[in-house]
């Protein structure tokens, strides 16, 4: 690994160890992709790229769900009892 990369960010005094740790935290959040070579040495760029894609996927899911809910909205009751039921399902 080139040390030039870390020198670029040295103005913020971030240690390479910190970055590696944060990246591994991120990687654990990403959905598992069946890779033939999924060893720990995936580059920072790859992790960030996968993270971007994952966030875009999540945004799209929220969009689709909002769309679905807008169609269903007529059936969603203002009844507090039902809301309580849902809450109990979710929590």
């Amino acid at each position: 690994m080139s040390s030039r990369r870390w020198r670029e960010s040295s103005r913020t005094n971030i240690s390479e160890e910190q970055i590696t740790q944060l990246l591994s935290t991120l990687r654990q959040l990403l959905p598992e992709i069946p890779h033939s070579h999924s060893h720990k040495a995936s580059s920072a760029a790859k992790v960030l790229k996968q993270t971007c894609n994952y966030i875009k996927t999540l945004h799209r899911e929220v969009d689709d769900l909002s769309d679905r809910l807008s169609q269903l909205l007529a059936t969603i009751d203002a009844d507090s009892a039902e809301a309580a039921i849902i809450r109990s399902l979710l929590i």
């Binding site: 080139s2 030039r4 990369r5 670029e8 960010s9 913020t12 971030i14 910190q18 970055i19 944060l22 990246l23 935290t25 991120l26 959040l29 580059s43 920072a44 760029a45 960030l48 790229k49 993270t51 971007c52 994952y54 966030i55 875009k56 999540l58 945004h59 899911e61 929220v62 969009d63 769900l65 909002s66 769309d67 679905r68 809910l69 807008s70 169609q71 269903l72 909205l73 007529a74 059936t75 969603i76 203002a78 809301a83 849902i86 809450r87 399902l89 979710l90 929590i91």
Partner: protein
């Protein structure tokens, strides 16, 4: 100062769920649902989406950079809407923070191997408030943001499924 990395999913989930359900009820009460014109549905869709983001941002409050940025954006947008002189255009469309990234075809890798700068910049556009973050904050905020997004999706899915039957 910063909370430890583990999020309490139960309480965030319940805070979000409560707020979001309340918002849905309000949206439903706003207009008679009998009119299901495409325009109406689209408006409802926009309101629901905004309610989802708002509910999440308010559930996290100002504990995070990204939630502060989102709250600021939501408040300035609603402030603008109340202003009669603001015209019909809704909000800033140039800030592509929550929208699709425009950098689909990017990443000409530089020669010196600092290859992840472009990816980091792309990430900055996806995470609210990302432009102001240094790399360390960006990674940290992104992790929390992703956790919250997955919670949001989870809850919305359960609600939609519940009312689909």
């Amino acid at each position: 100062m910063n909370n430890p990395h583990h999020l309490n999913p139960t309480s965030l989930k319940s805070r979000f769920t409560t707020r979001f359900l309340r918002a849905l009820t309000k949206i439903r009460a706003q207009k008679p649902i009998s009119s299901s014109s495409p325009t109406e549905i689209f408006r409802r869709y926009r309101r629901i989406k905004a309610a989802a983001d708002k509910s999440m941002a308010y559930s996290v409050r100002s504990r995070r950079i990204w939630s502060r940025a989102m709250l600021w954006k939501l408040r300035s947008r609603s402030y603008r809407r109340q202003d009669p002189c603001s015209g019909r255009r809704s909000g800033k469309t140039n800030q592509a923070i929550m929208k699709k990234s425009s950098n689909e075809n990017t990443t000409t890798r530089r020669e010196d191997g600092v290859g992840f700068v472009e990816e980091a910049d792309e990430l900055r556009q996806l995470v609210p408030g990302g432009e102001t973050m240094n790399l360390c904050n960006l990674l940290d905020e992104t992790a929390h943001y992703i956790k919250c997004l997955t919670t949001q999706v989870q809850v919305m899915k359960k609600i939609a499924d519940f009312y689909s039957f």
